[in-house]
Symmetry: C2
Subunit: 372 residues, 2 copies
């Protein structure tokens, strides 16, 4: 049973509420069992059981204290290393649940609108589960961007037209279950990040690079569920961090308004440059409710932070470095005894190894094309 | 205390025996404790204790049954996914122990001779531990190859002269502890692969992509130690697999002779194209002793296998695919009930994101240059 995050209505749509808001499952109730794998230990908290084989080993990632960054910032900074997931980003955690949902509904085809981490993840788990996978990309994409995605063998379809509209258009394609950024089951998978952190340390602050808003929603929901089940006694303070060159959530947060489409995104942090985040309003509301923080950082600081993180042992993509780049802005909130976790979302390695065949189609022709 | 693998002499050198043979530590004796981390659970088997922080989360990688490949080959094929280590290859396991050794000996500088996975790994752990790190590469290397390595901030030194001789030359540099491919402590770290597999399944066959021979030696030694300590009742059958375009160990194995330098290595499997493997003779001897298998596969089959592995959920580098590519040749030895493990050594993603400054020097001038 899903509920709209914005208006609260129950079961009002498959992907999004009739009011336009994103959906989520009600908070889970349950206990934690003693297993080393998060999918088993927190079984009660997920909508589906996940075997180690089905997860492909996703999750259960290292939480490592950043030696250099902790010393220099005078606090305890921990990096949650999501670059060691099966497709080298945190997206795998959500994809697992999305694929489970698609199979429960009887779909033989899944899809996603992405050119990056999410596309690779959906293509990988689609292949592993024997599902046909469609990845929708901009019609003018350079072939080089598709290296990692194409090896998993999905159908890659370039669509001419507004790429922002493509997200909404994709949800109308009945034949295919789309596991986009804020699919309610994808969000369920991201809760696992909160569960793992909470099992290791009592974090005082959790910093989350934020684009579409899906990972923010999932991690916060995970912590809220632990609180409701008396497994933790209070929530950490959450910080959503965006790149200055594309920070529509930060703007709406400051203006106390709704999220509006960001014109001309321009940042090195490509993986978090969604100009019109589908869960943007949900993130703003949650930040207000929990007195969280919303910050933006510039490209120079992002690239500096990327190097600092590497010297502490993780080569991450620029988008993953925004949390560490925001630490100077957080110093008013952080003390010597704080335990600050920054999510390192994906690997710095992405490559152009092979060319791929990309069919293209216009937005109007999309439905006909994919119904084959 | 180290012992020469070829002549058996004790403590006859720091890196290699006076006879020229590679060194190793005597077999460990001990028990296994119930911990989820291999470095803790098998503490008795390693020369150093390793905290989770010191490991950066290396090891404890997923062993996943390959659905498609198992079905098509009519056996039970498991992939040991080493692409999810901190620098996305199995090398991290050995680097941990090498760095520990260097620090115990009081070195403030470490080094390695590599342009690939090993260089990235040594540079990463060197940075994390505050050690100065020197990476020796060919003088004519393309800058693009150094993308991942350079972000960790090592000194990268291009050396003009025979790159094969550089390995031996590096061992003469007193100021720097070199953690090359068959450093005896590096080998100790690789034992962890055997320990993890043995905890999950009774493998009948373990297939190992083989170049310098270090990982083969470490994995076999790990299994031998489990046997000596009555933790397993018999060894699996080991298969060392090389690329046909550079298969000096395969040739020596077939000719019952010593390993000779391979002229003009030419294969897509760059990461296993060492033309004169320092542990080559040790691998051949061990294969003969244990009645193991030694195979070679061509580039076409390697690239096909790389795609098959991706469809089973892992995007690996071509060198990692040689084990799967060799399975048709293994069918005489494998039955329906066999449990075959193939080691997937490193990630398919490697990238040219940034240029790096490479100083160059001749082989003759190397000692002067690094003594600074």
């Amino acid at each position: 049973m899903t509920r709209c995050v914005l208006c609260g209505e129950l079961d009002s749509g498959e992907y999004r509420c009739r009011c336009g808001g994103p959906l989520q499952l009600d908070h889970a109730v349950g206990s934690i069992v003693d297993e080393s794998d998060v999918w088993s230990s927190h079984r009660d908290y997920f909508p589906y059981d996940v075997s180690k084989e089905e997860s492909l080993g996703a999750g259960n990632t290292p939480l490592i204290k950043a030696r250099g960054l902790s010393n220099r910032s005078g606090t305890n900074l921990y990096l949650k290393n999501e670059t060691v997931n099966p497709t080298w980003s945190f997206k795998d955690r959500g994809t697992i649940m999305g694929v489970k949902r698609a199979m429960e509904l009887g779909h033989e085809r899944i899809g996603t609108v992405s050119t990056g981490n999410m596309a690779a993840s959906v293509a990988c788990y689609g292949a592993y589960n024997g599902l046909r996978t469609v990845v929708l990309v901009p019609g003018d994409i350079s072939q080089g961007k598709l290296g990692q995605i194409s090896i998993y063998g999905p159908e890659i379809l370039g669509v001419h037209g507004d790429y922002g509209d493509l997200y909404y258009e994709s949800l109308e394609l009945d034949d295919i279950y789309f596991i986009n950024s804020d699919d309610p089951y994808r969000i369920e998978g991201y809760k696992s990040i909160a569960f793992e952190i909470a099992q290791e340390i009592h974090a005082t602050h959790v910093i989350i690079p934020t684009s579409s808003g899906g990972s923010f929603r999932g991690i916060v929901k995970g912590y809220e569920e632990l609180l409701k089940n008396d497994i933790i006694s209070h929530l950490p303070k959450f910080a959503a961090v965006q790149a200055q060159g594309c920070s529509p959530i930060k703007l709406a947060y400051e203006e106390d308004g709704q999220v509006k489409r960001w014109k001309d995104p321009n940042t090195v942090a490509k993986a978090i440059s969604n100009p019109f985040p589908p869960s943007g309003d949900a993130v703003v509301n949650k930040l207000k409710e929990l007195e969280g923080l919303c910050l933006a950082v510039d490209d120079h600081d992002i690239l500096e932070a990327q190097i600092s993180i590497a010297r502490d042992g993780i080569y991450c993509q620029p988008a993953s470095a925004v949390g560490v780049a925001a630490i100077p802005q957080l110093m008013d909130h952080i003390g010597r005894d704080s335990k600050v976790v920054s999510l390192i979302t994906g690997s710095g390695m992405k490559v152009d190894v092979r060319s791929s065949n990309v069919d293209t189609v216009t937005l109007d022709g999309l439905r006909d094309r994919v119904s084959r």
